[in-house]
Symmetry: C2
Subunit: 472 residues, 2 copies
């Protein structure tokens, strides 16, 4: 039984129809845990409205009844932001049936999509219009636009195109009282007051329910190349990205760092990959250049840049992809890390950012602090140099027990976050806070900033019914 | 006499020193009107603090005494946002002494500057570090970073680099109660809660006083070219920008439209300029391409694009700049419009935006409506096609009286704004609201959006002492 009044359930059923209401525990199951099964909760109901108006009616009914809502997209988040608590009184509001692409305006370089559209489908719709939607991340085959907006998603193309926030021109939002705010503007300049959409982007469903968005499109990419480069140190990576940015400008669309340890995990556990070099090197970067011009001389540019890097000792070895197959093979090394690490026992995943210039000192300081406190842990550091964003993950020492290592996870996280904050960084660069990092944020963030956030929360959602227990 | 308690004046003097307090009416004069002398007010005092701590102390003292503050930068705004009302009870807070460049971090591609730094000095500091700070607008020699942030300034490079909002990574803000929020983060990814800086950007000083910012830098431009193209219609301009974006991608850094009427005013009133073509054409665009590569083949690319445009009848004639002198000469035609129009009697200036795809219909509809209601008015339409942003200005009919024309200004504005809103546009694309458009915003904006804005204002500034009478 759901614990909700029968009259409320009946009213909700009238809004969303039989197909939109799930009260059966078996059928609710997949909505109550994230894809990794790291977070699991209980819910009174799962609702699947099929339109903005239905979302609005649901929110209004729940607001009147004082029932809390947990908005949910593709459920691919890493911080439990879309999973209800375990008391069973919250209602999960799945947006996946709001999956229409409402409009493509090629001349305005915009696309208007509903919250439940899968990211990959959005990318494909852009491509069909001869355009690029650049947001790209591991979960793109199942994550939704609404989730990307609610968490201000990042990924590998932020270096050139920005986070989801920078890709958004307008939003449609159902407010906590059930009114619909139509902020679906397709404008690149609009200075007529506070930019309200910015509050909802990255707010993880705590201020309202995003139902649709106007997003920016870009010219299609017609040339692309990648290189795999061995480096002596993270400092060399920072030098190299500065040099390549100066040389290539906006053609530099990817610059991914990974440690030897990261590569070794991939080489051990992912099938069909191989080390591009005969010798082992301490660090690597994957460089991607792209251009709107067909047959742009990107390889020449790469070779010029790498030539200079060799002379200055910044690069130790390099291979430039000679075909699309090789491009994919090099990216497979980078993209295999997360999966490979899972084969080495529990993965403690962190997602920090620091100023790009401080990456080398951050890595040196954190490595040292961890090895001192937890001898033998294996550090799987990789990430997006151009964003200052490192997935500074940790695996257990060889031969250690999983349980003993897991018991240290909080303490390890604290070491990493302490150094991060010391370097004026962020403890969550692109994954958000959700349930996972809410308490850490309380600890590490400026109390004044938390106070301002709470005052906004009170102004928008005084009853506290929007995704309670997340973010704040 | 200032009307303020002597004890308060004494306390303020102790904070800012003799050099930072102006009570003399003569010496206050230049702080009480904007550069065009379109808005003039009165003030109890002008304060010129020299540090963030002094700003904080001033704000705290004024908050305790219930005295309203009007923050002011270079005073180059067009909407009276930095001018006090005429009751003489408000205090003007000039930020121009906060003019330090605190840090340039070339490896992080960021610069940290105080609010009073002149935009041009910021551009120069970036250039000295081998980088580009791309914001560029007419007033750059006297406007300040604080004003650029408070109004989310735009200009001619938004097409490629975005508005001031997109160029900002972090802010330092003195809150209405005098506390300092240190949000000076230099991070490209940070998802640890609501993005508070977004509220202050574009809030025109109504939520707090921005005292410093971390801004993005970009690779220096090493090749640049421009073309001047004659077109049959605004529709051709929209077609041409789509084609050039697809061809050139991010190299397209300027695409400025102007009508024949605009050019004629420039040719009549600006010295040292000439029509690039022997024949008159109805519309023109100035195209700018730039690249980080020295000797990039930009002219080849322009000629390829224009060749296709001629074939399709989109372009009627074109000239490509052969030297830096010619580049400047072409830009002079565009940049002379505002000054030239002032010689033709009162200029009714508007700053609207619509989706790029709707520019042609917007211009046709507005031209028709204006000529029907106000026969003979001369429409000076120009602007940034890539931003959908038109300065759709109006001059009096030939031979008409200034006063009679001025008396129609509200009615003319209403015609233009009605069409703008009909085309899902904005009545203020880049100039903000200030005093000038506050009432129009009340009329044209969604009441729900105004309500949300007011709830934010109440949450941050419950006493309403931050730049009252502006924006909201």
């Amino acid at each position: 039984m759901s614990g909700l009044p029968v009259s409320l359930i009946q009213a909700l059923r009238e809004v969303v129809g039989e197909a939109g209401l799930i009260a059966d525990v078996e059928r609710m199951h997949s909505y109550l845990a994230d894809w990794r099964n790291a977070y699991r909760g209980q819910a009174a109901l799962v609702l699947r409205p099929a339109s903005t108006e239905q979302v609005a009616a649901v929110v209004r009914l729940c607001a009147e009844a004082g029932v809390a809502l947990v908005p949910q997209g593709g459920n691919t988040g890493l911080c439990g932001g879309s999973i209800p608590d375990d008391l069973g009184a919250q209602v999960v509001l799945s947006l996946t049936r709001l999956n229409r692409i409402r409009e493509v305006d090629a001349a305005n370089e915009t696309i208007t999509v509903e919250a439940g559209v899968i990211l990959q489908r959005l990318q494909e719709a852009a491509a069909e219009a001869g355009r690029l939607f650049p947001l790209s991340l591991g979960a793109e085959g199942s994550c939704t636009v609404g989730g990307n907006l609610a968490t201000n998603a990042g990924g590998t193309a932020v270096l050139r195109y920005g986070n989801m926030r920078e890709l958004t021109l307008g939003l449609e939002v159902v407010l906590p009282d059930g009114r619909i705010w139509d902020g679906l503007r397709a404008l690149r300049k609009d200075n007529t007051g506070y930019d309200l959409k910015q509050l909802f982007i990255g707010s993880e469903g705590t201020l309202g329910i995003i139902t649709a968005a106007v997003l920016k499109l870009f010219p299609a990419v017609r040339s692309l190349t990648t290189a795999w480069v061995a480096l002596p140190s993270p400092r060399a990576a920072v030098e190299l990205i500065g040099q390549m940015r100066g040389l290539c400008g906006d053609r530099l669309t990817g610059f991914e760092l990974m440690s030897r340890q990261s590569l070794e995990f991939v080489l051990h556990h992912v099938s069909g990959v191989s080390d591009p070099f005969a010798d082992a090197h301490p660090w690597y970067v994957l460089i991607e250049l792209s251009d709107t011009q067909p047959d742009a001389p990107l390889n020449d540019m790469l070779e010029q840049g790498l030539g200079e890097a060799f002379e200055r000792g910044v690069a130790l070895d390099a291979v430039v992809a000679a075909s699309e197959v090789q491009v994919r093979a090099l990216w497979a090394l980078r993209e295999g890390i997360s999966e490979a690490q899972n084969h080495e026992g529990p993965s403690l995943k962190h997602d920090i950012s620091v100023p790009i210039s401080r990456i080398p000192d951050f890595i040196a300081r954190t490595d040292q602090a961890l090895q001192q406190a937890f001898p033998g842990v294996r550090i799987v550091a990789y990430g997006h140099v151009g964003d200052g964003n490192l997935h500074y993950n940790v695996s257990k020492p060889l031969g250690a027990e999983d349980a003993a290592f897991k018991a240290q996870s909080e303490a390890i996280m604290q070491v990493i976050f302490d150094v991060t904050v010391n370097f004026a960084g962020s403890i969550s660069a692109e994954h958000g806070l959700g349930q996972a990092k809410r308490d850490a944020a309380r600890h590490y963030k400026d109390p004044l900033e938390l106070e301002l956030m709470r005052s906004i929360k009170r102004a928008f959602d005084p009853a506290g019914l929007m995704n309670p227990g997340k973010l704040l």
